[in-house]
Symmetry: C2
Subunit: 243 residues, 2 copies
């Protein structure tokens, strides 16, 4: 049976980290809110979220439905899918190490979101623009180097070589790191200018993922939603500045 | 061999969610930074974090060391410990459901942190006090009801009864929800006034966890660090207001 991915229609957002894993593996999946018909569309997702009979209600999308099982949160979905898609180590202990890396990516993504929404998700960006400028300045000055520097160091210290974030084979966290770099390049082009020299292993990983046949095919397809200002990574020129 | 927990000395913080699970289970563990001697103390944690030879470097505490395996992030540590401490369901699918609940708690904890640090973790609270007031107001108005309302609903819709967040037995997420309520009561007493009527199942769960012998003993012990203004849950009267 095909995996069912439920996520907000019209944005890459957090769902994109799951899509990249499914696409790389060539898995059969239904991007539920982007299709129409019975059990499809955003209405189907909202019915699932609001169900008063479902015993395992998720807090927020993305969700993965595999048969009767509903799994929420990106890192959790990837932890579940990893072995099935051959994107996780065979060693069980190392799967927790991989999950730790993915959860650091999760934290970074939440900080990216808060650059444009530092006060409240419920308010418009325009209503918190000054605070967004202050938070983005700190983000570029402190947080980007801290997170990217960390991932660069993990790559460099990988005893199996700097081509992968863990071990000697592709994992879902490599795909997520590609997406992090793509998103930062979109949202903060000035801040990211010259990142290839500062983070050579991360830059090489990004390029290697982009060149993988299934990923390259996906990125050119209509299934890849373009970045836009409703997603996590948003390009607001007033928030971007040279690092 | 005893589990080794590494976390910042002097605060409950994120480490407390792990401590509660270890304490409830009566597990043997070393709270590394709170002890002295070889391989103990904050220095030992910093050496591990900064190691240039370690192949699996964590981004931030808390960390759990089990033999040679180093696991980072609260939800990941609890996912790993759950079956070992008999605080997770036997069914593997349900363990992912439990992890999803724990990751929602993780997100909520990050939002609690940002009530006093909305602009930058690297700046003092005093340097972002006005923004903290704005964020806390939204937090009390929008986010507390959203998160607590969600957990109340999950409890109420549990087909095995409202005593536990998942299934019919205690899990680590029940312990974490106790800590969430404890922390909110400490940090936002005005906002939480009367919460028992709004969230009866959550309130009953909190009280039931507090009464468990191992937890009750732990809370009275010196191992339980008091809440303070260096942790995640901080009491700043100017951020608190009636809901």
């Amino acid at each position: 049976m095909a995996f069912e991915l439920y996520y907000w229609n019209g944005i890459q957002g957090r769902g994109e980290f799951v899509r990249l894993a499914l696409e790389e593996a060539g898995a059969v999946y239904i991007d539920v809110t982007r299709e129409s018909g019975p059990g499809r569309g955003t209405g189907a997702m909202m019915r699932l979220m609001r169900s008063s009979s479902e015993s395992h209600i998720p807090f927020a999308p993305p969700l993965l439905k595999d048969g009767e099982l509903i799994i929420s949160h990106v890192a959790n979905i990837l932890f579940y899918l990893g072995p099935k898609l051959n994107l996780a180590p065979k060693d069980e202990g190392l799967r927790y190490v991989l999950n730790g890396l993915q959860l650091t990516i999760t934290d970074f993504v939440a900080e990216v979101h808060d650059t444009h929404h530092p006060i409240a998700t419920s308010l418009y960006y325009e209503d918190q623009k000054e605070e967004a400028k202050a938070r983005s300045a700190e983000f570029i000055r402190e947080r980007v180097p801290k997170f990217l520097g960390y991932f660069e160091r993990v790559l460099q210290q990988n005893p199996k070589g700097a081509k992968h974030i863990l071990g000697d084979a592709l994992t879902y966290a490599d795909l997520s790191l590609f997406q992090i770099i793509e998103g930062l390049n979109y949202a903060f082009p000035k801040a990211m200018d010259g990142y290839e020299e500062k983070y050579p292993a991360l830059s090489a990983l990004h390029d290697a993922v982009a060149a993988r046949p299934n990923i390259a095919g996906y990125l050119k397809s209509e299934r890849r939603i373009p970045f836009n200002e409703d997603g996590i990574f948003r390009y607001y020129p007033e928030l971007d500045r040279a690092a």
